[in-house]
């Protein structure tokens, strides 16, 4: 059984349908990417998965549970974490306080401290700036905060919404390296990206979303070679 199983999901804002009946799944340990143009409905899909937006219909099964039965602030306790679009850091909390917010739902203090040390090993920049207000950091550093924070919740599934958005190419490279490191640790991930090539290169599988529908899906290598993907998303 898949870790995440989405069936005929529909989401609307007022009268406007943003997600028009999509099906997809993610298996334990996979890194799956969801690509698509601006406005395709990717962010809406992720927000629905973590309960920030209510679905209109369809079903979301996560780890054998119906997501509809989970309170919106309890998703993290069931193992779902998200790095939101635009990072969503708390600008007037320090870097360390931001990271600790990721562990808000946990009570195993000693282990949290160990993992904080590990996050700092992963992102030495954050260690140097741990007492600085997160709002004063550069975009790339803020993205590291958002990722470290999500990892501190010890998620079963980590959702990443455009982690490379607005970052310089060299930082994007770094962020993708980190994504691969996290994946190597066995964290299951759903990566939403506009940078389709990079995303498909690091993923096992991918889905393509267009105007609220999933129009293609399959092995990431196969998608990289797919004519339609190459024309529409890889600029070839």
């Amino acid at each position: 059984m898949s870790l995440l199983d989405v069936k005929n999901l529909q989401v609307a804002y007022g009268g406007i349908q943003a997600v028009k009946g999509i099906d997809f799944h993610i298996d334990q340990g996979e890194l799956v990417t969801l690509i698509g143009a601006n406005g395709a409905g990717k962010t809406t899909t992720l927000k629905t998965l973590v309960g920030m937006v209510k679905k209109a219909s369809g079903s979301i099964q996560f780890d054998g549970k119906d997501a509809a039965s989970i309170h919106s602030h309890d998703f993290v306790r069931h193992g779902l974490a998200m790095v939101p679009e635009g990072r969503g850091i708390f600008p007037k909390l320090t870097v360390e306080e931001n990271l600790l917010m990721g562990a808000y739902a946990r009570n195993d203090t000693a282990q949290i401290q160990d993992e904080l040390v590990r996050i700092y090993d992963l992102f030495p920049r954050l260690k140097e700036r741990c007492r600085q207000l997160a709002g004063t950091l550069s975009g790339g550093e803020q993205q590291m905060v958002a990722m470290g924070r999500a990892m501190l919740s010890k998620p079963k599934l980590l959702l990443l919404d455009e982690p490379s958005m607005g970052l310089a190419p060299i930082i994007v490279q770094k962020i993708f390296e980190i994504i691969q490191m996290v994946a190597a640790e066995g964290v299951t991930m759903l990566l939403v990206e506009q940078n389709a090539r990079l995303a498909l290169e690091v993923s096992q599988r991918g889905y393509v979303m267009e105007s609220g529908k999933i129009t293609l899906g399959g092995d990431a290598r196969a998608l990289l070679d797919d004519e339609r993907v190459r024309n529409a998303y890889l600029g070839e």
Binding site: V50, M52, H71, S72, H73, D74, F75, V76, R77, A81, M82, P84, G88, I89, F90, P91, K92, L93, E97, L100, M101, G102, Y104, A105, R149, S153
Partner: protein, 309 residues
């Protein structure tokens, strides 16, 4: 010179009470962008409930030291006010979340009037004297005088404020409160129950209000159903002066406003050649409010005043 020191001392007493009340306004504003104009009435209930409890005890012939009686009164008034604050948020403000900002503002004013009416039903329209159980001994130094009670008021205010700021800065609850005020949606994503945090904010603010109400009542030896209005407006002014939403600002703004007002009252006669007397002291708070809104709308410590007020 004596009058100067005397007015500073008077200002410190009143100002530290303003600060305690201002914290209630500023905490709620910080987390919800809402001015809870009913907060002054919570302060009034704190005073009324305490006086009622003490009077009942004294009337029943309980003979305990005065300070102990006040503490017993507080132990009942604080939870009572917390319950009022909790209920206000649940029934009046929560249903209006996401409504146009005028709606909660009008609701707040309506609530304030309703709570005054409830107080009239319970306690009537007359001034209620504080039972004569406290020692008003005066200490004199450098020509100025202050009562022991006033020293206790200042010390207790400072203690409570330091405690609150420490809680907000150092504890997990405080961190969650700050996170919620900065980005409630993402705080929810981290597992913070935003509704509980908002409730906690109202409950804590109301508890501080209860203590402040009792201080006002002991300092002036009386309470009244309408007392919350003026002191609430003053404390709100203090919060704006310090930078609304900023806890440290509320403390500074409160103490500063108390001192400005007190110096103003002390010197207004001289300044106007005796035309205006110290009974015009309330004017100073509103002059300050107007000046701050014109020249520094973000307040002393605030960064920006959101347009949502």
């Amino acid at each position: 010179m004596d009058i100067f020191l005397q007015q500073i001392l008077n200002g410190l007493v009143v100002g530290s009470i303003y600060a305690l009340i201002a914290l209630g306004y500023t905490m709620v504003y910080g987390i919800m962008g809402l001015i809870n104009f009913a907060h002054g009435e919570v302060v009034m209930f704190g005073a009324m409930v305490t006086i009622t409890v003490i009077s009942a005890l004294v009337g029943a012939g309980v003979s305990l030291p005065g300070p102990l009686l006040v503490i017993i009164g507080l132990l009942i008034a604080i939870p009572a006010c917390m319950l009022i604050g909790f209920t206000i948020e649940r029934i009046a403000y929560r249903p209006l979340r996401g409504a146009p900002r005028l709606a909660p503002l009008i609701t707040a004013i309506g609530l304030s009037i309703s709570l005054q009416q409830v107080a009239i039903l319970i306690w009537g329209r007359n001034y209620i004297p504080f039972p004569p159980i406290l020692n008003h001994d005066v200490i004199t130094f450098l020509g100025a005088s202050i009562t022991k009670l006033q020293i206790v008021i200042i010390a207790l205010c400072l203690l409570i404020m330091v405690g609150l700021l420490t809680m907000v800065e150092k504890t997990k609850l405080g961190r969650a409160m700050r996170a919620t005020s900065q980005n409630p949606a993402v705080a929810g994503l981290m597992g913070v129950n935003v509704n509980s945090i908002i409730s906690a904010t109202f409950v804590i603010g109301s508890g501080l209000g209860a203590v402040a109400g009792v201080m006002v009542a002991t300092n002036y030896d009386q309470a009244h159903y309408y007392m919350g209005y003026m002191i609430g407006m003053k404390a709100f002014t203090a919060a704006v002066l310090g930078g609304i939403g900023n806890l440290g600002g509320a403390v500074c703004g409160g103490i500063l406003l108390g001192i400005i007002e007190s110096l103003g009252a002390g010197y207004i006669g001289d300044l106007t050649g005796g035309f205006l007397g110290s009974n015009y002291q309330d004017v100073f708070a509103f002059v300050v409010l107007i000046l701050v809104l014109i020249f520094r709308p973000s307040g002393l410590l605030g960064e920006k005043l959101a347009d949502r007020a």
